[in-house]
């Protein structure tokens, strides 16, 4: 095999790969303006350093991909109005957000819930009262 053949195979593979990825990232539903602004809030506060979205990010906080299935917008608003101390910290509180930022973040997290993740995260097994860990 020669360098020219290697370069041609590499370029062909790269082209097919980029096209496949481009067609795969299409969204089923368009994102609203609020959801877009919420993504900016997520990024500007560097939430990804502690939390994961789609399983990607820091592991010290919980994954938030489907958080809106577990918490209501009121819960989220209340959380950011009076951010709690985050264990194991004794003093340091969770960063706060303005009400507008919170609304946008909620719209973004609502949107993230609609992304088809092929069954991830898996549904945990329900523990019965007699089960031993």
């Amino acid at each position: 095999m020669r360098l020219r053949t290697f370069i041609l195979i590499s370029l062909a593979s790269w082209t097919v790969f980029v096209l496949s990825v481009r067609f795969s990232w299409n969204l089923d539903e368009p994102m609203s303006q609020e959801a877009n602004a919420g993504k900016e809030v997520w990024q500007s506060h560097n939430c990804v350093s502690c939390h994961t979205l789609l399983g990607q990010g820091g592991y010290s906080g919980e994954d938030l991909t489907h958080i809106m299935a577990k918490r209501s917008p009121d819960d989220i608003n209340a959380f950011f109005r009076h951010p709690p101390v985050i264990p194991p910290h004794q003093e340091e509180k969770h960063p706060s957000l303005t009400p507008l930022e919170t609304q946008d973040l909620i719209a973004f997290l609502e949107y993230m819930r609609t992304i088809p993740t092929l069954g991830w995260p898996p549904e945990p097994k329900r523990l019965e009262s007699g089960d031993i860990l």
Binding site: G58, Y59, E62, L118, L127
Partner: protein, 448 residues
């Protein structure tokens, strides 16, 4: 004989990479301590501390790799690079932009993208630096096309890919799925494709130069290995696309091409094994570099390839994705595979024709052992923490915060292993920098 200018410029890249690696050892140790010692006073918030750690993890290897490619291209072709002046400018651009990126992150200025946090202008500067090298190498190879070797060819293609993969990451993506997908063109494809090409070229050059392996044997399979690395690396990215909103075909593509990716690793390991069976007696300088290369091969086979393959099985990944298992694997795959090789390259290049004293050699070996013990210890702690997260949180459905309390002892043990790692890193950095200083003063006297 007068040293080639391209080789001399490569020394700057290596010295800067070693400095960044030493800083990484300290930053990482402080970050890991902050995770288990709550409310520890710190000049940088934990969020941006992590961003600095990830930026260092991404950029110290690439700067070292770029220096190695210049050096070993000149070494293989027995000629200078096309434009040493361009290489000097490239170094300056990369020095300014990478330091600005790290400085701005320390000042909490970023864009909130994991691994690629920081203002796009700095990524544009780093891309420009890599582009200059790709051009410089392309012209060097073209002008020496009669003497071209497979090692120089695949190293140049590797550098071109580093640039092609980084440029799309300068852009802003409002689509969160696209944002994640493009991020892995650096996070996965730099490590598992572009660096595979440049490191294969380095290993081939080093083994031919030291006489460990026969040039003909090395070159026979190099293009085949490189082609498998490119195809396997590209579509193997699919294992990062399983659950991010991509169609289910990527479950097949990701797992199938992850197996293909493993083939060149085993081919390389086989080649090295054969080379060592009949190798000549090595001097202390070569021996120290070989210690580092063998460490890389060990982690490449175990932590990166075998553990990586296990994790890419979709039914396993469904449970382990988004836990500390990923972090444990990432440490073994990134530092274990690439980091050790760049340290080997840095030591070889910066020591020039100098050989270490037996005492320095013993310190060097102690540094390599500490790095290995620290890395294995850290990764094991992260893997155990990740396994507990997988079982207790994902499988049994225990509360996330309750599981976080259970795994805290393992994260504390990670800090202890991290201190071994940092000690090893500082020992090796000191040896490499002292060697550079010694050879630099000798050069100044001879040229002055």
């Amino acid at each position: 004989m007068k040293a080639l200018t391209g080789k001399q410029i490569a020394r700057r890249f290596m010295l800067y990479a070693v400095f960044l690696f030493g800083s990484q050892g300290i930053v990482a140790l402080l970050g890991a301590s902050a995770l288990v010692l709550p409310d520890l006073p710190s000049p940088i918030s934990a969020e941006y501390g992590r961003a600095v750690h990830l930026a260092l993890a991404t950029f110290w290897p690439v700067i070292g790799m770029l220096g190695m490619v210049y050096y070993f291209t000149a070494e293989q072709l027995k000629t200078d690079i096309y434009s040493p002046k361009l290489a000097r400018w490239q170094f300056l651009i990369m020095l300014v932009t990478s330091l600005s990126l790290l400085g701005s992150l320390a000042l909490e200025i970023g864009n909130g993208r994991e691994y690629l946090d920081g203002l796009p202008i700095f990524y544009a500067g780093i891309s420009l630096g890599i582009l200059i090298e790709a051009y410089n190498l392309g012209r060097t190879l073209w002008e020496n096309r009669q003497r071209l070797t497979p090692a120089t060819g695949i190293m140049a293609v590797g550098v071109a890919f580093l640039c092609i993969l980084l440029i799309p990451n300068i852009l802003h993506y409002s689509n969160p799925v696209a944002d994640e997908a493009v991020k892995f063109w650096v996070v996965h494809l730099w490590e598992e494709m572009a660096f595979e090409l440049t490191t294969s070229g380095f290993i081939a050059s080093f083994f031919v130069a030291t006489g460990i392996a026969n040039k003909k044997d090395i070159e026979k399979w190099l293009y085949l290995e490189a082609t498998l690395s490119v195809m396997g690396g590209l579509f193997g990215t699919g294992h990062h696309y399983y659950w991010i909103g991509f169609p289910s075909i990527w479950l097949f593509l990701g797992s199938f091409f992850s197996v293909i990716q493993a083939i060149p690793v085993f081919l390389l390991a086989n080649l090295i094994y054969k080379g060592f069976k009949n190798h000549k007696v090595l001097n202390l300088k070569e021996k120290l570099a070989v210690w580092l290369i063998l460490s890389s091969i060990f982690h490449h086979l175990t932590g990166a390839t075998l553990l990586g393959l296990l994790m890419t099985i979709p039914w396993v990944n469904l449970y382990t994705h988004g836990t500390y298992i990923t972090s444990g694997h990432a440490h073994l795959a990134l530092f274990g595979t690439i980091g050790f090789l760049i340290l080997a390259g840095a030591y070889t290049i910066l020591s020039d024709r100098e050989s270490p004293t037996p005492k320095t050699y013993r310190y060097g070996v102690a540094g390599v052992i500490l790095l290995n013990l620290g890395l294995i210890g850290m990764s094991l702690c992260l893997l155990i923490a990740g396994f507990l997260q997988t079982y207790l949180w994902r499988v049994l459905g225990l509360d996330f915060m309750a599981v976080s309390s259970i795994i805290r002892p393992y994260l504390s043990l990670r800090v202890l292993s991290g201190s071994l790692f940092t000690s090893g890193a500082l020992i090796l950095c000191t040896i490499i920098i002292r060697t550079w200083w010694k050879t630099w003063t000798v050069r100044r006297k001879t040229t002055g």
